[in-house]
Amino acid sequence: MKMIYDHLVVRYGELSLKGKNRRHFESQLFETVKRKMRPFQELNMSKHFDRIVIELNGQSYEPIVKSLQDIFGIHSISLAVRSENDLEAIQKAALIALNEAMEGKKTFKVTGKRSLKSFPVNSMQLNQEVGGYLLRNTEGLTVDVHNPDVNVKVEVKDTGTYISSKSFEGAGGLPIGVGGKAMLMLSGGIDSPVAGYLTMKRGVRIEGVHFHSPPFTSERAKQKVVDLTQELTRYSGGKIKLHVVPFTKIQQTIKDKIPSSYSMTIMRRVMLRITERLAENNHAMAIANGENLGQVASQTMHSMYAINEVTNMPILRPVITMDKQEIMNLSHKIGTYEISIRPYEDCCTIFLPSAPKTKPKREKAIRFEQNIENLEELIEEAVNDVETLILEEGKSTDETFDDLL
């Protein structure tokens, strides 16, 4: 296939914040884009007022666009041809761009924008001059200004004129790193990675927390969470820390001392306490999880009321209003579904009582919890023995295999 697009124009979207904030947001985003583009060596990147321009230098755009679509804070990515600021050159380049995008389509329009005011042709005239040229030099195409199949954008800037006819939707949201940090509780199921993705969409960095109960939960169950975290690094702007909490002792104690109908509620309360501690230790200001209303025992409003009490920290529940199908669709989209459905038991299912209370009472939970006299000690011990892994985008978690592959 012939390559005609030599530029990508990355637009930031509605970063409507002004002044200092905007500068901060943009430089965060530019750093993320630069890091993300590292595997593509031949690119030149430059930051402009409302956009990043990437020169492709002969590389094919597909993998680059795909990679950019993982970055939050990007509104759209357009394929662009750059021409000299000269009407004839602009017309020719526009024709190339149109032909590339037309395939099977019938109507187009030209959206001219003259940002460089010294250019003698204004926006309106650009539309007419370029549109007319395109009509004269193509067959069977007509102009439709309201609902065109293809929109040929012509933007005259001081660095040259950018002409684009093909755009891809960006991930939206805010640039990662502008919104503080949250601890994401990762069970290994379908919901929590999606919750992590959506948390990052608001510009929030995440660190994962996973509760591991060997030998009741297997190495594979832990590996599953490692792999999920690895997948999420695509959206994290680089690295994600994963804290694996040794949870066997606590789970056994709960089983011994708590009536089985309340064991789930108490377990969740303890998990939340531990996560809060980890948040404090790692300078996070919130906890995120994949909780949803009305799906399973621990996810009723009653249950949430009985569990949430143990912390004052904000708990972000990005998927709380979603239907299961919506969550699954997102999970497919972000690439975690296939990992999430691996059939290994996690800490939430292994000791699952046959009849957990769907309407636990807060008072009862508090009372039962007091059965565990050394709870504080157990929590302390678990927090101290946490294993922390650092996962990085594009790096395999097990380098011992790299030589083999």
Partner: protein
């Protein structure tokens, strides 16, 4: 030794063999076993799948491991036919497919399917108009070979994919056994639903292959008795061979980036020189894969020539290794309309990145000498 039979099979890369041995020694456990050794093997298998997916620019869940090209073609063609026969029983292929495809279609024909075998021109190419005309309401599959294994002809897969995009209900299978590392085939861009690949054609090991199955494409599986390979192909995975294949794929793609021009240079040299020899006709079209040269030598049985070159340490073949023992004329060359004589006197040279121009020069010199010797005896 001058080995010019790389379309039959290639010599495994040294690194590939090293990988195979290491994995066989260290990670021999069954990836489905629950213990930690099994878990380790499973992880390695997963890494290999991921690495292959990246190289092919597809999703890991779209990579199904098979035993090779023949199995890949069989699973793809029969799998689609049986799974979707309620929607229609018409299948389209060409008359110049590899035996594993061709015979799958003949089998399906005996099972009540209707097959259109698209004819080819002198260059071995199907016509896009023929293809468009043969598409019907009940067509469920178009299956074509990308690079022909006997002649190196390249079917215009991208254009075909474009046509098929207008018919989203038709599955598109491509046999890319000969193309990997030699002729680029962007799977997604071409709108391909299934694609067959075989490891030993690119310096991997025999007994390993890949069937790309696009997410969402359902196949009836020919093997049952387990959940391996996304339930499309049950059986304990050949982890060592698969990891070795991942390595081979990475290496061949790297070589093809750096040295593709060398292959074209060797091919051009050979074709130009062969043309000057009396009684030789070139069967490979001008625009074709960089590594296959097919020609016919008037009046000389190809077996005789192969054996006399063999004595001089030059290894070539008659045509497809899979049908070379049957003797007689090449089905492919006959379909190209080259006539019985040319079709039964064909020789195939097939190169790879290790071959040099020097080897080409030497083998040509030897070929010329042997031709003279043979003619002497025959007189």
């Amino acid at each position: 030794m001058i080995y010019l039979d790389n379309s039959a099979t290639t010599k495994p890369y040294k690194e590939v063999l090293d990988t195979f041995v290491t994995v066989s020694e260290r990670y021999f456990a069954n990836p489905s076993s629950l213990h930690s050794k099994g878990s380790e093997a499973e992880k390695l298998l997963g890494q290999a799948r991921k690495s292959i997916a990246q190289l092919l620019e597809v999703a890991p869940s779209e990579v199904v491991f098979t035993s090779g090209g023949t199995e890949g073609n069989n699973i793809a063609i029969k799998g689609i036919a049986f799974q979707h026969q309620n929607r229609g029983k018409h299948l389209i292929t060409s008359s110049v497919e590899h035996a594993s495809s061709h015979e799958s279609f003949q089998y399906l024909e005996s099972q009540g399917f209707e097959i259109t075998y698209l004819p080819v021109d002198h260059d071995g190419l199907i016509s896009l108009e023929d293809l468009e005309r043969s598409i019907r309401q009940d067509t469920i599959l178009v299956s074509l070979i990308h690079v022909n294994n006997e002649t190196g002809t390249i079917q215009p897969i991208q254009e075909i994919g474009k046509i098929l995009k207008e018919h989203p209900k038709i599955f598109f299978h491509v046999d890319n056994v000969q193309g990997v590392g030699k002729v680029d085939l962007p799977l997604k861009e071409c709108g391909i639903d299934l694609c067959t690949i075989s490891a030993h054609k690119f310096h991997g090991l025999k007994g390993n292959g890949i069937l790309f199955v696009k997410n969402g494409v359902s196949l009836s599986s020919l093997f049952t008795g387990g959940e391996q390979e996304l339930k499309k192909r049950a059986g304990t995975e050949n982890v060592a061979g698969i990891v070795a294949m991942a390595k081979a794929l990475r290496l061949i793609l790297q070589e093809s980036k750096e040295k593709r021009e060398n292959l074209f240079e060797i091919k051009q040299f050979l074709i130009e020189e062969l043309r000057t020899i009396d009684g030789i006709d070139i069967n490979t079209p001008i625009s074709s894969a960089p590594h296959i040269i097919n020609f016919s030598v008037k009046g000389i049985k190809p077996e005789v020539l192969i054996h006399s070159l063999d004595k001089r340490d030059v290894y070539v073949s008659t045509r497809s290794a899979c049908s070379s023992r049957q003797g007689g004329a090449s089905r492919i060359l006959l379909e190209m309309g080259l006539g019985e004589n040319r079709a039964s006197t064909a020789i195939r040279l097939s190169t790879t990145y290790g071959n040099t121009l020097k080897e080409a020069e030497l083998s040509l010199k030897i070929l010329k000498e042997e031709l003279i010797n043979i003619k002497k005896v025959m007189r």
